[in-house]
Symmetry: C2
Subunit: 394 residues, 2 copies
């Protein structure tokens, strides 16, 4: 056996999605890129903002000595300082530079947090549906994912989370704005979550961490704001990145922010730094660290995604399909129409025949739904209307 | 308990080294940077070569669309193609682009390989002394480090490796040029290792992987060449980076090369790509990938390190200290002088009083030795002679 059994099993079970991606590439080759409506991947098609390009060019031109060398594992102090200011503002708390640990994207941040805090057999509660890689991240570090079903509107359901809490609960992992549904958890939901976690900790002596995965924080619509987490619950940690807001997913630049009211936060920060080191990240990429430190005031191009959202809703309305109105991120979660008897894979197949690619909700623990990513051109979205209508009418 | 017990234990046991680093910073503040001889860290002080700086500037100026976005998890195909050519040349095999998986440095590469191949309880044989983080890398993924003592000259000892082999041996991990001793394993040692691994595999039905961690491959002296690994043993994998050869440790750019004669190598490559994804690296930093693809002909500044090595040997000779003659890398492994009764920590303390910083051999599993890194200025090395003499004469 050439590879680990668990990895082998995962490869086998993830092959359905891989096949879909490969089929997508084949479809584009066969029919032409503009004839295929590829809403499968959350890869922003927008280029990084002009301010990023100018900052990068300036830093590379200046070429300061030591700028590509090792720095402390947690990142350059001035970078951590800049992001502490930004995070303090976003979360209504006062962080200093030590509360920030730079990471290899949000995925690196989450793995680092889980490595730092999970004992073998510890549980992490996740609201279902959820981003499919969470299970692997948690399992990587000896933990167990415990699902808590969301409510009918895909908001976090406080009752199912409460029922999922146990003495083994090390953390509750939330994601708002939410992939795949586009939901933004309201302030009162975060407050209610904090309340049950405090209550649980008071009873058991173990306060679960609230880990907020929020790379989409800036991507919200209709004047909505994502409520703060670090000020809502003392034992909270934010994991985030610049992948979505500045369209830098390939550069792997993100960070962890540790809530200033965590118990024994110095040990927690030391553990995060140690985990960063031994998981082989060592540190976040140096040049990108220095870039993002200068871009804390630059905003994501929300208006572009808002226009695409509007276009997508119009297309789905035209095709007679129901969906969850996205409050943030760039995903639209669409109900499988009646003719498919809730079979999301059958609907995805029917869509594929019309050259539309989406991800079955089953992949997120939500059969009966399909996720479409609208980080593609508005024109491509508009042109998909007839294809959607044809696919939905079974 | 705010963090995982295993992480807490590791923090406690690694605090000796951390204290040393902190004391180093304090010493420099107190006495001035040029008065302190900091040979503790393997952080190249050389700037990246001019060709890197020009390539980076050109790529950033061109600013090609999509260049900071996601690419396949294994890396840009043209980058993989360029490194396949380079690796084929170095290892005397024929690789194509699919055999290369880009990684977040060599540490990321090693974690990816171990995640991909280790089943719970599997063993990885490492020649002692060894880079101290190997133990954590292996434990991260459920494996167990099994030590095989090197011979008296710190060459790999085929007999101890053979004795360490078991049915649970998933891999033998080698590092040549070697940290901390500077040894380069000769071709006949690699051939003998291949022979016992083939013999073991023939008997047990399980052929251990030979994993070669070789970020120092280009840093060799006296016309030496590091013998190829991929052509020596079919089930071999190279993990490497540009951290040392191009002085880019902060940028986290490296790669994995899979030997073309591995059994079921397509599954192995799929497993490596999956491991890259779920460990949260997702992919190696995009801009640096594109840089290194154009620098396959650029050589490390070996002459600079050779001059430093010569200076360091002169200093140790003057102080009457014995050491292993470094054949590669930028470390010199020095015997604790007689007056210290083999106590490397006591010798490190005596050195510190003379403002010299080194790492005790105990940290690498080799008590009675001290490691000095000579990736600092030649002047700093030369100026340390009197301090070494004063410290050694107890």
């Amino acid at each position: 056996m050439p590879v680990a059994q668990a990895v082998k099993d995962a490869l086998d079970s993830s092959s359905m999605i891989r096949r879909m991606f490969e089929e997508g590439i084949e479809l584009k080759k066969k029919f032409g890129t503009d004839k295929v409506f590829d809403f499968s991947l959350g890869n922003p098609d927008l280029e990084p903002p002009e301010a990023f390009r100018q900052t990068l060019l300036r830093l590379v031109t200046e070429d300061a000595p030591g700028s590509h060398g090792y720095m402390p594992n947690a990142g350059f102090p001035h970078v951590r300082e800049a992001l502490a200011r930004k995070t303090s503002h976003e979360h209504g708390v006062t962080l200093d530079w030590r509360h920030i640990v730079m990471s290899v994207g949000a995925a690196g941040a989450l793995n680092t947090v889980l490595k730092a805090v999970l004992n073998p057999g510890d549980e992490v509660i996740v609201s279902r549906p959820y981003f499919m890689e969470y299970r692997a991240y948690i399992t990587n570090h000896g933990g167990k994912l415990v699902e808590a079903a969301a409510d009918d509107s895909f908001n976090l359901d406080i009752d199912t989370v409460r029922a999922a809490l146990s003495e083994k609960t090390a953390a509750v992992l939330i994601n708002s704005p939410h992939n795949p549904t586009g939901r933004v958890y309201p302030q009162k939901t975060i407050a209610a979550l904090a309340e049950i976690l405090l209550e649980h900790g008071g009873k058991t002596g173990r306060f679960p961490y609230l880990v907020a995965d929020e790379p989409y924080r800036e991507l919200v619509y209709d004047g909505l704001a994502v409520p703060p987490v670090l000020s809502a619950y003392p034992h909270s940690i934010v994991a985030t990145s610049y992948s979505k807001s500045l369209s830098l997913p390939g550069e792997r630049i993100g960070y962890i922010a540790v809530g200033p009211r965590n118990d024994d936060k110095d040990t927690l920060i030391d553990a995060l730094i140690y985990a960063t080191r031994i998981l082989g990240y060592v540190n976040a990429p140096a040049l990108m660290q220095r870039c993002v430190a200068e871009l804390t005031e630059v905003k994501a191009a929300v208006y572009m995604y808002a226009a695409r959202r509007a276009a997508f809703k119009k297309v789905l309305d035209y095709a007679g399909l129901s969906y969850i109105n996205p409050e943030g991120a760039f995903y639209i979660f669409c109900k499988v129409p009646g003719g498919f008897a809730n079979d999301d894979r059958a609907f995805v197949d029917a869509l594929k025949k019309q050259l539309i690619l989406g991800v079955p909700g089953s992949s997120f623990g939500a059969p009966g739904w399909v996720r479409f990513a609208y980080c593609v051109s508005e024109e491509n979205i508009r042109n998909s209307a007839a294809a959607f209508k044809a696919a939905g009418g079974r």
